[in-house]
């Protein structure tokens, strides 16, 4: 540590009460005789005070949230404002294909326009070629079989089940892909086909290609279309690497990149490959889908709001029945994550 570092350590020790008598003497001497030192002390106190305020505020907020949750339901919902998610009985592949062409055509223009301003906006697709190169030293033992597989891969991301046979991911994850596979520990590797894509909002829906596949069964989460409150705790499950990764954060702004109202800004740490991952709230429901992060600001990640997804799906001609699973009684978060994990997939594409 340099001089400045030592000065800092002295100040910190003094305020944390771990300074020795000699150090206290040194502190007092320097405080009296060095203006820069006194300024450092003042700054340190301001920062510590800032931390205290921040901490108190978080604690207060979580207390209030708890009180809120304990209030009787009839106080919270005086006039029912529940949004009804249409429950379509069927969809036909032909209709899907027909409308898909239309949808892609329509959004190509809009997409081009909005992309121009996104200079600090980085989509979180995992470019497998790049990763392979940068990590080649770390993966010393790669079996030949695996080597062959990665060579033909185009990109990777994350996706999650939205009903018995469909998976939602980001559009940019599957863009330009010919073959799309979804895989996880529970269901293995599943070949899927694109049935709906929305370039403007950057999401896409894949369906299991093999009709003999029994599907995913009951999904333990649903879309939460109400606006998530500022500061709400959120978590995500994704595949920035070969095994699934859990990440925790909070809603840091109601709006996304350059005040984009379609997305939230989330304070969370994610990596390329997290794209397409569901963002769960504390109830375990999906409030959005991770799409991008700010390259200038490490802590700012953007997630497309569930409300926008539902609205886009409803407007589209593709009939998609969404999982509407009611809340599970299980309140223990850990098992909720383990449960949700089974319906999160690593998306792999190739040309």
């Amino acid at each position: 540590m340099n001089d400045k570092g030592l000065t800092f350590e002295l100040i910190e020790k003094y305020f944390e009460g771990t300074a020795t008598p000699e150090e206290i003497e040194l502190y007092n001497y320097r405080f009296k005789n060095e203006t820069i030192f006194a300024q450092d002390v003042a700054d340190y106190q301001k920062l510590r005070n800032g931390f205290d305020v921040f901490k108190d505020r978080l604690e207060l907020k979580s207390k209030l949230n708890q009180f809120h949750a304990e209030m009787p339901k009839d106080i919270i919902s005086q006039t029912p404002q529940t949004k009804i998610i249409p429950w379509y009985q069927n969809w036909t592949p032909i209709m899907a294909a027909a409308s898909l062409a239309f949808v892609i055509g329509t959004f190509a223009f809009i997409g081009m326009k909005s992309n121009q301003t996104k200079s600090h906006y980085q989509a979180l697709k995992l470019d497998l070629e790049k990763v392979k190169k940068s990590q080649s030293k770390l993966w010393q033992v790669v079996s030949e079989e695996e080597e062959e597989k990665t060579e033909e891969m185009l990109s990777g991301g994350t996706g999650f089940a939205i009903n018995n046979n469909m998976i939602l991911t980001d559009y940019h994850v599957i863009k330009d892909a010919n073959k799309i596979f979804a895989e996880n520990d529970k269901f293995g590797s599943i070949k899927t086909k694109l049935i709906y894509s929305n370039e403007k909002l950057d999401f896409a829906i894949l369906a299991i290609e093999d009709s003999s596949n029994e599907g995913f069964g009951n999904i333990p989460f649903k879309f939460e279309t109400n606006q998530a409150p500022l500061g709400q705790k959120v978590y995500t499950l994704g595949y920035p690497q070969k095994s699934i990764v859990y990440g925790e954060g909070y809603v840091s702004s109601a709006n996304g990149y350059e005040d984009d109202t379609l997305a939230y800004q989330i304070g969370i740490w994610v990596n390329p490959g997290n794209s397409g991952g569901a963002l769960f709230n504390e109830q375990g429901n999906v409030i959005g889908v991770i799409t991008a992060k700010n390259t200038e600001n490490e802590g700012a990640v953007y997630a497309l709001k569930s409300k926008e997804i539902i609205e886009a799906i409803n407007k589209s001609e593709v009939k998609i029945k969404l999982s509407n699973k009611s809340k599970t009684n299980n309140n223990y978060k850990l098992s909720k994550i383990e449960n949700a994990k089974q319906f999160v997939f690593r998306i792999k594409t190739s040309r």
Binding site: L47, G50, V53, F54, K63, Q78, S252
Partner: protein, 190 residues
């Protein structure tokens, strides 16, 4: 009667009594929820606005910075109404009806406390910090983890290395924190 209960609640909150805070929170939400739901708002927005008002009220009580001149219910309602109007006009769904019957004029409605400013400042600074700095700083200064625990968590070989890293992170945070303080000041003067 109402007045007496209010005074009891306030002194309870002043003394850090959780029960008092709970009672305060749970007894005043209903009219505010009604206000927001009937003016283009959602349940979540009602909750946000209400919590913002309760936090403001709480912090003002805690630092003895004001005397309540009306009932708590009236005060919270007035604050919420002001906050909600502001939010509505931001959403440009401005509703004229809300301005009618403006009978809470005399209530002091300064909604930005020193704490609020500091909280936002720290929040912005932490968000701008990036990883692993953000977590290291939060672990040490907010969650009170020891340097040894942090070294373990992040795989540093010893606490000194972790300490060094923490020092660098704090220097960066300091810059961000004081930079946003400048911004805050500018925006207040504007």
């Amino acid at each position: 009667m109402q007045y007496q209960t209010d005074q009891l609640l306030i002194s309870g909150i002043k003394n850090g009594d959780n029960k008092a805070l709970e009672l305060l929170y749970k007894s005043h939400f209903k009219p505010i929820n009604f206000l927001v739901l009937n003016n283009n708002g959602t349940e979540d927005e009602a909750k946000d606005i209400y919590q913002e008002a309760v936090i403001l009220f709480y912090e003002k009580i805690r630092d003895n910075s004001f005397e309540l001149t009306c009932s708590i219910a009236t005060y919270l309602y007035a604050i919420c109404k002001r906050l909600w109007l502001r939010k509505l006009s931001a959403k440009s769904k401005y509703v004229a009806d809300l301005y009618e019957n403006e009978k809470y004029e005399e209530v002091e409605l300064n909604t930005q406390t020193e704490n609020e400013i500091q909280f936002q400042q720290m929040n912005t600074a932490l968000l701008g910090l990036g990883e692993p700095c953000k977590t290291i700083i939060e672990d040490y200064y907010i969650h009170n983890l020891s340097m040894n625990a942090i070294a373990d968590k992040f795989g540093y070989t010893n606490a000194d290395n972790a300490k060094n890293q923490k020092y660098k992170c704090l220097q960066r945070l300091k810059k961000l924190f004081f930079a946003s303080q400048q911004n805050q000041k500018v925006s207040i003067f504007e």
